[in-house]
Symmetry: C2
Subunit: 208 residues, 2 copies
Amino acid sequence: MAIASQDYEVHALTIDYGSKHSRELESASKLAEHFKAASHRTIKIDLGIIGGSSLTDEKIILDTGKKLEEIGKEIPSSYVPARNMTFLSLAMGLVEVVGAEKIFIGANAVDYSGYPDCRPEFFEAFQKTAELGTKAGVEGKPVIIESPLLRLTKAQIISKGMELKVPYELTWTCYSGGDKACGKCEACLLRLEGFREVGINDPIRYKD
Amino acid sequence: MAIASQDYEVHALTIDYGSKHSRELESASKLAEHFKAASHRTIKIDLGIIGGSSLTDEKIILDTGKKLEEIGKEIPSSYVPARNMTFLSLAMGLVEVVGAEKIFIGANAVDYSGYPDCRPEFFEAFQKTAELGTKAGVEGKPVIIESPLLRLTKAQIISKGMELKVPYELTWTCYSGGDKACGKCEACLLRLEGFREVGINDPIRYKD
Protein backbone atom coordinates (compact mmCIF):
# COMPACT_ATOMS: atom_id res chain seq x y z
CA MET A 1 0.00 0.00 0.00
CA ALA A 2 2.54 2.51 1.17
CA ILE A 3 4.77 0.90 -1.39
CA ALA A 4 2.48 1.48 -4.33
CA SER A 5 1.96 5.03 -3.09
CA GLN A 6 5.69 5.66 -3.33
CA ASP A 7 5.95 4.69 -7.00
CA TYR A 8 8.02 1.58 -6.48
CA GLU A 9 7.69 -1.37 -8.81
CA VAL A 10 6.29 -3.95 -6.41
CA HIS A 11 7.22 -7.64 -6.39
CA ALA A 12 4.76 -9.24 -4.00
CA LEU A 13 5.74 -12.27 -1.94
CA THR A 14 3.24 -14.38 -0.05
CA ILE A 15 4.28 -17.17 2.29
CA ASP A 16 1.79 -19.98 2.61
CA TYR A 17 3.14 -21.30 5.90
CA GLY A 18 0.42 -23.76 6.74
CA SER A 19 -1.52 -21.41 9.01
CA LYS A 20 -5.10 -22.10 9.95
CA HIS A 21 -6.16 -18.74 8.52
CA SER A 22 -5.21 -19.57 4.95
CA ARG A 23 -8.02 -17.27 3.89
CA GLU A 24 -5.38 -14.53 3.96
CA LEU A 25 -3.73 -16.07 0.86
CA GLU A 26 -6.79 -15.19 -1.20
CA SER A 27 -6.64 -11.63 0.13
CA ALA A 28 -2.94 -11.43 -0.71
CA SER A 29 -3.63 -12.37 -4.33
CA LYS A 30 -6.48 -9.90 -4.65
CA LEU A 31 -4.40 -7.09 -3.15
CA ALA A 32 -1.39 -7.86 -5.38
CA GLU A 33 -3.73 -7.66 -8.36
CA HIS A 34 -5.46 -4.51 -7.10
CA PHE A 35 -2.14 -2.70 -6.65
CA LYS A 36 -0.82 -4.02 -9.98
CA ALA A 37 2.24 -5.77 -8.57
CA ALA A 38 4.92 -6.43 -11.19
CA SER A 39 5.01 -10.02 -9.95
CA HIS A 40 3.43 -12.09 -7.19
CA ARG A 41 4.99 -15.29 -5.90
CA THR A 42 3.61 -17.62 -3.27
CA ILE A 43 6.08 -19.88 -1.49
CA LYS A 44 4.63 -22.82 0.38
CA ILE A 45 6.36 -23.91 3.55
CA ASP A 46 4.79 -26.09 6.16
CA LEU A 47 5.75 -24.56 9.50
CA GLY A 48 3.32 -27.04 11.07
CA ILE A 49 6.20 -29.54 10.89
CA ILE A 50 7.91 -27.37 13.48
CA GLY A 51 4.70 -26.45 15.31
CA GLY A 52 4.74 -24.62 18.61
CA SER A 53 2.09 -22.06 17.64
CA SER A 54 -1.68 -21.92 17.77
CA LEU A 55 -1.56 -20.65 14.17
CA THR A 56 0.15 -23.71 12.76
CA ASP A 57 -0.30 -26.52 15.27
CA GLU A 58 -3.68 -28.27 15.43
CA LYS A 59 -2.96 -29.36 18.99
CA ILE A 60 -2.60 -25.77 20.28
CA ILE A 61 -5.88 -23.91 20.71
CA LEU A 62 -6.09 -20.31 19.50
CA ASP A 63 -6.95 -17.94 22.34
CA THR A 64 -10.24 -16.17 21.59
CA GLY A 65 -11.14 -15.19 25.12
CA LYS A 66 -8.80 -12.28 25.76
CA LYS A 67 -9.87 -8.75 26.53
CA LEU A 68 -8.33 -5.97 24.48
CA GLU A 69 -6.35 -4.61 27.41
CA GLU A 70 -4.76 -8.00 28.06
CA ILE A 71 -3.19 -8.16 24.61
CA GLY A 72 0.55 -7.58 24.38
CA LYS A 73 1.28 -8.35 28.01
CA GLU A 74 3.02 -11.60 27.15
CA ILE A 75 4.07 -13.59 24.10
CA PRO A 76 0.80 -15.10 22.85
CA SER A 77 0.14 -18.68 21.73
CA SER A 78 -0.19 -17.29 18.19
CA TYR A 79 3.53 -16.47 18.15
CA VAL A 80 5.03 -18.58 15.35
CA PRO A 81 8.64 -19.40 16.29
CA ALA A 82 11.06 -17.39 14.15
CA ARG A 83 8.37 -16.61 11.58
CA ASN A 84 9.35 -13.07 10.60
CA MET A 85 12.98 -14.15 10.40
CA THR A 86 12.01 -16.89 7.96
CA PHE A 87 9.76 -14.53 5.96
CA LEU A 88 12.44 -11.86 5.71
CA SER A 89 15.07 -14.41 4.70
CA LEU A 90 12.87 -15.59 1.86
CA ALA A 91 12.16 -11.99 0.87
CA MET A 92 15.89 -11.32 0.90
CA GLY A 93 16.37 -14.14 -1.59
CA LEU A 94 13.74 -12.63 -3.87
CA VAL A 95 15.33 -9.20 -3.53
CA GLU A 96 18.60 -10.58 -4.83
CA VAL A 97 16.92 -12.17 -7.83
CA VAL A 98 14.73 -9.24 -8.91
CA GLY A 99 17.29 -6.62 -7.89
CA ALA A 100 15.00 -4.81 -5.45
CA GLU A 101 16.12 -1.95 -3.22
CA LYS A 102 13.78 -2.41 -0.31
CA ILE A 103 11.69 -4.95 1.55
CA PHE A 104 8.42 -3.67 2.98
CA ILE A 105 6.90 -5.64 5.84
CA GLY A 106 3.71 -4.74 7.67
CA ALA A 107 4.85 -5.58 11.20
CA ASN A 108 3.46 -3.48 14.01
CA ALA A 109 5.08 -3.03 17.40
CA VAL A 110 2.93 -0.45 19.16
CA ASP A 111 -0.44 -2.02 19.81
CA TYR A 112 1.03 -5.43 19.88
CA SER A 113 4.33 -5.68 21.64
CA GLY A 114 4.06 -9.37 22.51
CA TYR A 115 5.89 -10.63 19.43
CA PRO A 116 9.69 -10.39 19.75
CA ASP A 117 10.08 -10.40 15.97
CA CYS A 118 7.92 -7.28 15.54
CA ARG A 119 10.32 -5.02 17.42
CA PRO A 120 12.43 -2.30 15.75
CA GLU A 121 15.68 -3.68 17.18
CA PHE A 122 14.96 -7.04 15.56
CA PHE A 123 14.55 -5.46 12.12
CA GLU A 124 17.73 -3.43 12.55
CA ALA A 125 19.71 -6.54 13.48
CA PHE A 126 18.21 -8.49 10.60
CA GLN A 127 19.23 -5.81 8.13
CA LYS A 128 22.81 -5.97 9.41
CA THR A 129 22.78 -9.77 9.04
CA ALA A 130 21.50 -9.46 5.50
CA GLU A 131 24.26 -7.03 4.60
CA LEU A 132 26.82 -9.64 5.61
CA GLY A 133 25.07 -12.72 4.29
CA THR A 134 23.91 -11.79 0.81
CA LYS A 135 25.52 -11.17 -2.54
CA ALA A 136 23.85 -7.75 -2.72
CA GLY A 137 25.29 -6.80 0.66
CA VAL A 138 28.79 -7.99 -0.23
CA GLU A 139 28.61 -6.03 -3.48
CA GLY A 140 27.81 -2.86 -1.58
CA LYS A 141 24.12 -2.67 -2.46
CA PRO A 142 22.55 -3.53 0.89
CA VAL A 143 18.81 -3.87 1.02
CA ILE A 144 16.77 -1.61 3.27
CA ILE A 145 14.01 -3.19 5.35
CA GLU A 146 11.09 -0.82 5.72
CA SER A 147 8.35 -1.46 8.25
CA PRO A 148 6.14 1.60 7.73
CA LEU A 149 3.46 0.43 10.15
CA LEU A 150 5.88 -0.45 12.94
CA ARG A 151 5.25 2.50 15.24
CA LEU A 152 1.66 3.34 14.27
CA THR A 153 -1.35 2.53 16.44
CA LYS A 154 -4.00 0.35 14.81
CA ALA A 155 -6.18 3.48 14.44
CA GLN A 156 -3.37 5.33 12.69
CA ILE A 157 -2.92 2.36 10.36
CA ILE A 158 -6.61 2.41 9.43
CA SER A 159 -6.47 6.17 8.84
CA LYS A 160 -3.36 5.89 6.71
CA GLY A 161 -5.02 3.15 4.68
CA MET A 162 -8.11 5.29 4.10
CA GLU A 163 -5.88 8.11 2.88
CA LEU A 164 -4.12 5.69 0.49
CA LYS A 165 -7.44 4.20 -0.70
CA VAL A 166 -6.74 0.70 0.58
CA PRO A 167 -9.63 -1.58 -0.38
CA TYR A 168 -10.22 -2.86 3.16
CA GLU A 169 -12.92 -5.19 1.88
CA LEU A 170 -10.13 -7.25 0.28
CA THR A 171 -8.02 -7.47 3.42
CA TRP A 172 -7.93 -10.21 6.06
CA THR A 173 -6.77 -10.20 9.67
CA CYS A 174 -8.58 -12.96 11.60
CA TYR A 175 -6.50 -15.87 12.91
CA SER A 176 -9.35 -18.34 13.35
CA GLY A 177 -9.82 -19.51 9.78
CA GLY A 178 -13.18 -19.79 8.07
CA ASP A 179 -14.98 -17.58 5.58
CA LYS A 180 -16.04 -14.90 8.03
CA ALA A 181 -13.84 -13.25 10.64
CA CYS A 182 -14.42 -14.50 14.20
CA GLY A 183 -14.31 -11.08 15.90
CA LYS A 184 -12.85 -12.69 19.02
CA CYS A 185 -9.21 -13.56 18.39
CA GLU A 186 -6.47 -11.08 19.25
CA ALA A 187 -6.07 -10.05 15.62
CA CYS A 188 -9.80 -9.32 15.22
CA LEU A 189 -9.99 -7.41 18.51
CA LEU A 190 -7.16 -5.11 17.48
CA ARG A 191 -8.51 -4.60 13.97
CA LEU A 192 -12.00 -3.79 15.24
CA GLU A 193 -10.61 -1.40 17.84
CA GLY A 194 -8.68 0.43 15.12
CA PHE A 195 -11.82 0.89 12.99
CA ARG A 196 -13.83 1.89 16.07
CA GLU A 197 -11.34 4.58 17.08
CA VAL A 198 -11.33 6.06 13.58
CA GLY A 199 -15.12 5.89 13.55
CA ILE A 200 -15.67 3.98 10.33
CA ASN A 201 -17.18 0.58 9.65
CA ASP A 202 -15.01 -2.41 8.89
CA PRO A 203 -16.28 -3.63 5.48
CA ILE A 204 -15.41 -7.32 5.95
CA ARG A 205 -17.96 -9.81 7.26
CA TYR A 206 -17.87 -11.10 10.82
CA LYS A 207 -19.60 -14.11 12.31
CA ASP A 208 -22.70 -13.19 14.25
CA MET B 1 28.71 -35.84 13.63
CA ALA B 2 30.60 -33.49 15.93
CA ILE B 3 27.26 -33.06 17.64
CA ALA B 4 26.74 -36.72 18.39
CA SER B 5 30.34 -36.89 19.57
CA GLN B 6 29.58 -34.23 22.18
CA ASP B 7 26.72 -36.16 23.81
CA TYR B 8 23.96 -33.78 22.77
CA GLU B 9 20.49 -35.05 22.07
CA VAL B 10 20.23 -34.29 18.36
CA HIS B 11 17.10 -33.03 16.60
CA ALA B 12 17.91 -33.25 12.92
CA LEU B 13 16.41 -30.78 10.45
CA THR B 14 16.56 -31.25 6.71
CA ILE B 15 15.39 -28.60 4.27
CA ASP B 16 14.13 -29.95 0.97
CA TYR B 17 14.52 -26.69 -0.93
CA GLY B 18 13.91 -27.94 -4.42
CA SER B 19 17.55 -28.36 -5.32
CA LYS B 20 18.62 -30.47 -8.28
CA HIS B 21 20.75 -32.63 -6.00
CA SER B 22 17.85 -33.99 -3.99
CA ARG B 23 19.90 -37.15 -3.56
CA GLU B 24 21.26 -35.43 -0.44
CA LEU B 25 17.86 -35.86 1.27
CA GLU B 26 18.31 -39.62 1.25
CA SER B 27 21.75 -39.19 2.78
CA ALA B 28 20.35 -36.87 5.44
CA SER B 29 17.81 -39.50 6.50
CA LYS B 30 20.42 -42.25 6.61
CA LEU B 31 22.79 -40.11 8.66
CA ALA B 32 20.06 -39.05 11.11
CA GLU B 33 19.27 -42.74 11.58
CA HIS B 34 22.94 -43.75 11.85
CA PHE B 35 23.58 -41.15 14.56
CA LYS B 36 20.32 -42.00 16.35
CA ALA B 37 18.83 -38.50 16.20
CA ALA B 38 16.04 -37.95 18.75
CA SER B 39 13.92 -36.59 15.89
CA HIS B 40 14.33 -35.84 12.20
CA ARG B 41 12.11 -33.36 10.39
CA THR B 42 12.15 -32.48 6.71
CA ILE B 43 10.65 -29.15 5.71
CA LYS B 44 9.83 -28.71 2.06
CA ILE B 45 10.23 -25.27 0.59
CA ASP B 46 10.45 -24.59 -3.10
CA LEU B 47 13.20 -22.01 -3.50
CA GLY B 48 12.88 -22.57 -7.24
CA ILE B 49 9.98 -20.09 -7.08
CA ILE B 50 12.59 -17.47 -6.25
CA GLY B 51 15.28 -18.97 -8.50
CA GLY B 52 18.53 -17.15 -9.17
CA SER B 53 20.76 -20.16 -8.55
CA SER B 54 22.07 -23.04 -10.63
CA LEU B 55 21.03 -25.33 -7.77
CA THR B 56 17.35 -24.43 -7.92
CA ASP B 57 16.70 -22.85 -11.29
CA GLU B 58 16.42 -25.12 -14.32
CA LYS B 59 17.35 -22.23 -16.59
CA ILE B 60 20.72 -21.67 -14.92
CA ILE B 61 23.38 -24.22 -15.83
CA LEU B 62 25.58 -25.63 -13.07
CA ASP B 63 29.24 -24.88 -13.70
CA THR B 64 31.18 -28.15 -14.03
CA GLY B 65 34.18 -26.80 -15.92
CA LYS B 66 36.08 -24.99 -13.20
CA LYS B 67 39.56 -25.84 -12.06
CA LEU B 68 40.14 -26.32 -8.33
CA GLU B 69 42.25 -23.15 -8.06
CA GLU B 70 39.48 -21.04 -9.61
CA ILE B 71 36.99 -21.93 -6.87
CA GLY B 72 36.20 -19.25 -4.33
CA LYS B 73 37.41 -16.32 -6.46
CA GLU B 74 33.87 -15.07 -6.97
CA ILE B 75 30.33 -15.85 -5.87
CA PRO B 76 29.45 -18.96 -7.93
CA SER B 77 26.23 -19.64 -9.86
CA SER B 78 25.45 -22.27 -7.21
CA TYR B 79 24.94 -19.52 -4.61
CA VAL B 80 21.30 -19.79 -3.50
CA PRO B 81 20.13 -16.30 -2.52
CA ALA B 82 19.79 -16.01 1.25
CA ARG B 83 19.76 -19.79 1.68
CA ASN B 84 21.67 -20.15 4.93
CA MET B 85 19.63 -17.30 6.41
CA THR B 86 16.44 -19.17 5.54
CA PHE B 87 17.83 -22.47 6.86
CA LEU B 88 18.97 -20.93 10.14
CA SER B 89 15.63 -19.15 10.61
CA LEU B 90 13.80 -22.45 10.25
CA ALA B 91 16.25 -24.11 12.62
CA MET B 92 15.68 -21.28 15.09
CA GLY B 93 11.96 -22.04 15.01
CA LEU B 94 12.65 -25.70 15.76
CA VAL B 95 15.03 -24.75 18.55
CA GLU B 96 12.25 -22.82 20.26
CA VAL B 97 9.86 -25.74 20.02
CA VAL B 98 12.20 -28.51 21.20
CA GLY B 99 14.03 -26.27 23.68
CA ALA B 100 17.47 -26.80 22.15
CA GLU B 101 20.59 -24.96 23.27
CA LYS B 102 22.55 -24.92 20.07
CA ILE B 103 22.24 -25.04 16.31
CA PHE B 104 25.00 -26.88 14.47
CA ILE B 105 25.54 -26.02 10.81
CA GLY B 106 28.19 -27.49 8.56
CA ALA B 107 29.16 -24.32 6.70
CA ASN B 108 32.75 -23.96 5.64
CA ALA B 109 34.50 -20.69 4.91
CA VAL B 110 38.12 -21.61 4.31
CA ASP B 111 38.33 -23.57 1.10
CA TYR B 112 35.24 -21.94 -0.24
CA SER B 113 35.05 -18.27 0.47
CA GLY B 114 32.72 -17.45 -2.41
CA TYR B 115 29.49 -17.74 -0.41
CA PRO B 116 28.74 -14.63 1.67
CA ASP B 117 26.52 -16.64 4.00
CA CYS B 118 29.34 -19.01 4.94
CA ARG B 119 31.42 -16.32 6.61
CA PRO B 120 31.98 -16.11 10.39
CA GLU B 121 30.71 -12.51 10.55
CA PHE B 122 27.42 -13.58 9.00
CA PHE B 123 26.86 -16.25 11.66
CA GLU B 124 27.72 -13.79 14.43
CA ALA B 125 25.22 -11.24 13.10
CA PHE B 126 22.55 -13.90 12.68
CA GLN B 127 22.96 -15.01 16.27
CA LYS B 128 22.48 -11.43 17.45
CA THR B 129 19.33 -11.14 15.31
CA ALA B 130 17.98 -14.37 16.76
CA GLU B 131 18.55 -13.12 20.28
CA LEU B 132 16.33 -10.15 19.54
CA GLY B 133 13.69 -11.87 17.42
CA THR B 134 12.84 -15.06 19.30
CA LYS B 135 11.00 -15.94 22.46
CA ALA B 136 14.05 -17.84 23.73
CA GLY B 137 16.23 -14.77 23.20
CA VAL B 138 13.76 -12.44 24.93
CA GLU B 139 13.55 -14.85 27.84
CA GLY B 140 17.29 -14.76 28.29
CA LYS B 141 18.05 -18.19 26.83
CA PRO B 142 19.73 -17.21 23.57
CA VAL B 143 20.66 -19.99 21.21
CA ILE B 144 24.26 -20.50 20.20
CA ILE B 145 25.03 -21.15 16.54
CA GLU B 146 27.95 -23.51 16.16
CA SER B 147 29.69 -24.01 12.84
CA PRO B 148 32.44 -26.46 13.78
CA LEU B 149 33.66 -26.88 10.19
CA LEU B 150 33.82 -23.18 9.44
CA ARG B 151 37.56 -22.66 9.59
CA LEU B 152 38.74 -26.16 8.65
CA THR B 153 40.21 -27.05 5.27
CA LYS B 154 38.41 -29.80 3.37
CA ALA B 155 41.28 -32.15 4.27
CA GLN B 156 40.91 -31.30 7.97
CA ILE B 157 37.18 -31.97 7.70
CA ILE B 158 37.80 -35.41 6.19
CA SER B 159 40.36 -36.21 8.91
CA LYS B 160 38.03 -35.06 11.67
CA GLY B 161 35.26 -37.21 10.19
CA MET B 162 37.54 -40.26 10.11
CA GLU B 163 38.38 -39.68 13.77
CA LEU B 164 34.65 -39.45 14.61
CA LYS B 165 33.83 -42.55 12.51
CA VAL B 166 31.62 -40.73 10.04
CA PRO B 167 30.18 -43.23 7.55
CA TYR B 168 31.32 -41.34 4.47
CA GLU B 169 29.62 -43.89 2.24
CA LEU B 170 26.29 -42.42 3.42
CA THR B 171 27.23 -38.79 2.72
CA TRP B 172 26.54 -36.73 -0.38
CA THR B 173 28.20 -33.62 -1.75
CA CYS B 174 27.66 -33.45 -5.53
CA TYR B 175 25.51 -30.61 -6.90
CA SER B 176 24.67 -32.21 -10.23
CA GLY B 177 21.94 -34.61 -9.19
CA GLY B 178 21.75 -38.23 -10.30
CA ASP B 179 22.66 -41.48 -8.58
CA LYS B 180 26.40 -41.15 -8.88
CA ALA B 181 28.46 -38.06 -8.10
CA CYS B 182 29.65 -36.16 -11.18
CA GLY B 183 33.19 -35.52 -9.98
CA LYS B 184 33.25 -32.23 -11.92
CA CYS B 185 31.14 -29.67 -10.05
CA GLU B 186 32.72 -27.36 -7.49
CA ALA B 187 31.39 -29.43 -4.60
CA CYS B 188 32.85 -32.67 -6.00
CA LEU B 189 36.22 -31.06 -6.80
CA LEU B 190 36.60 -29.82 -3.23
CA ARG B 191 35.46 -33.10 -1.70
CA LEU B 192 37.83 -35.15 -3.85
CA GLU B 193 40.71 -32.80 -3.08
CA GLY B 194 40.03 -33.25 0.65
CA PHE B 195 40.17 -37.04 0.36
CA ARG B 196 43.25 -36.86 -1.88
CA GLU B 197 45.15 -34.69 0.60
CA VAL B 198 44.35 -37.05 3.46
CA GLY B 199 45.34 -39.97 1.28
CA ILE B 200 42.23 -42.11 1.60
CA ASN B 201 39.68 -43.24 -0.95
CA ASP B 202 36.28 -41.59 -1.13
CA PRO B 203 33.83 -44.51 -0.69
CA ILE B 204 30.95 -43.01 -2.72
CA ARG B 205 30.50 -43.82 -6.40
CA TYR B 206 31.45 -41.38 -9.15
CA LYS B 207 30.44 -41.39 -12.79
CA ASP B 208 33.15 -42.73 -15.06
